[in-house]
């Protein structure tokens, strides 16, 4: 019959419980963190959609992300592309229904976005083509 050393058993129990408690703590912290599911804005996220030509998804992705107070240069340009798509779609919408005041308002916003787009300026023509809008002459 094996004689169980009481002290060794207790010490082993303490070690096992410490590890168990640590695992419980990690699980608790992860559950708290995972309960918030909004993403922070990330330029690479936007650039993937831009590279695929999926401009229409940019506004939705922008609004589903937590606002970044201090965006990088790349992120600022990506957001400008998203806003350009959004504002161009509204410009077209108000143009078609004959609301020229609103159309002018969105045209001004498009101009502002165009200035912020920077190195992603190639997206302007693609967005205009996708939305069927010819604003080059209006903006220049």
């Amino acid at each position: 019959m094996v004689k169980i050393n009481g002290d060794k058993l207790i010490n082993t129990t303490i070690v096992v419980l410490c590890v168990f408690m640590l695992l419980c703590g990690i699980r608790f912290i992860n559950n708290i963190k995972d309960s918030s599911f909004y993403y922070s804005q990330d330029a690479d996220h936007y650039l993937w959609y831009i590279s695929e030509g999926n401009y229409s998804e940019l506004p939705y992705r922008m609004y589903q992300s937590k606002y970044n107070d201090n965006p990088s240069e790349d992120l600022r340009e990506c957001i400008a592309v998203a806003k350009y798509y959004l504002n161009t779609s509204y410009y077209k919408m108000y143009e078609e229904v004959g609301n020229s005041a609103k159309a002018e308002e969105y045209l001004a916003r498009m101009d502002e976005n165009r200035r912020d787009i920077g190195d992603l300026s190639f997206t302007i023509a693609e967005i205009n083509e996708e939305l069927g809008v010819d604003v080059v002459n209006l903006l220049d």
């Binding site: 207790i10 010490n11 129990t13 303490i14 419980l17 410490c18 168990f20 408690m21 419980c24 703590g25 699980r27 608790f28 559950n31 708290i32 309960s35 918030s36 909004y38 695929e52 030509g53 999926n54 229409s56 998804e57 506004p59 939705y60 922008m62 609004y63 589903q64 992300s65 937590k66 606002y67 959004l86 779609s89 077209k92 919408m93 108000y94 078609e96 229904v97 996708e130």
Partner: protein
């Protein structure tokens, strides 16, 4: 006591008899007895200390084990109820910045930046707060509009979105249109969400959405006017007919 050899009186401290010079056997025995008692005392004392030390050590270790079990249980219960804990934490954080949130939401609503309003409301998880409940309806309606906007452009460019069929997209659009009009109905159980200011914003939101549906989904205005009260299935038929999907 008396000397066993000469009978003279002796004290316990006398090692030898002062009269005959013989050893005081009583004192010798006394010293042996005292030595024995002293050794016994120290041995007993050591045993008591050892035993009580082991007992204290055992109690301390058992207390540590009990503490670890209790903390582990609390963490497990906490993990299982993490949403409730998060709820409490978020409410507290929102309450700390309540004025900022109210100012921001009022500004977004006044500017008719509906997408910005719903984004701010949802990404800051303001739905946890009872103090900001009045913005719930306009925020959720704006969220429906954002989904309609997103799915509409996916539908119009569906050749790029092979993972979702046009039928699924029109179904999703119809679902959000129905949800939008349901929320537009005045709810007497939530009067703060349907105050004059919010109703005016909702009306502008409705007009913007209907313009959007008319322009991009090509739905005639007379059909759009019937959306309120229609089921998602019927809305889907109208949408599909308007954009040219479904049966001819």
């Amino acid at each position: 006591m008396k000397c066993i050899y000469c009978g003279s009186n002796l004290n316990i401290d006398d090692k030898f008899c002062s009269f005959c010079g013989k050893e005081n056997v009583h004192a010798q025995q006394h010293r042996k007895d005292m030595e024995h008692y002293r050794n016994d005392y120290y041995r007993t004392k050591r045993v008591v200390f050892e035993k009580s030390g082991r007992t204290v050590s055992m109690i301390a270790k058992l207390s540590v084990i009990a503490g670890l079990v209790l903390v582990s249980l609390l963490l497990l219960i906490g993990a299982a109820n993490s949403y409730k804990i998060t709820d409490w934490i978020r409410r507290f954080e929102i309450k700390m910045d309540l004025d900022t949130h109210v100012r921001k939401l009022d500004r977004l609503e006044a500017d008719r930046d509906f997408f910005g309003l719903t984004s701010y409301y949802e990404t800051n998880e303001l739905y946890y707060s009872q103090d900001l409940r009045e913005y719930r309806a306009i925020s959720y309606m704006s969220s429906d509009y954002l989904h309609i906007y997103d799915y509409t452009f996916r539908l119009l460019n569906h050749e790029k979105y092979t993972y979702t069929s046009p039928e699924e997209l029109t179904e999703d659009i119809s679902y959000y249109i129905e949800s939008f009009y349901n929320r537009l109905e005045y709810n007497e159980y939530m009067p703060e969400q349907y105050s004059k200011i919010h109703m005016a914003a909702m009306e502008d939101l409705r007009m913007e959405l209907e313009t959007f549906i008319h322009v991009y989904l090509k739905a005639p205005k007379e059909d759009i006017e019937t959306f309120k009260g229609l089921s998602p299935g019927k809305i889907q038929l109208i949408v599909e007919r308007s954009v040219g999907y479904g049966e001819d």
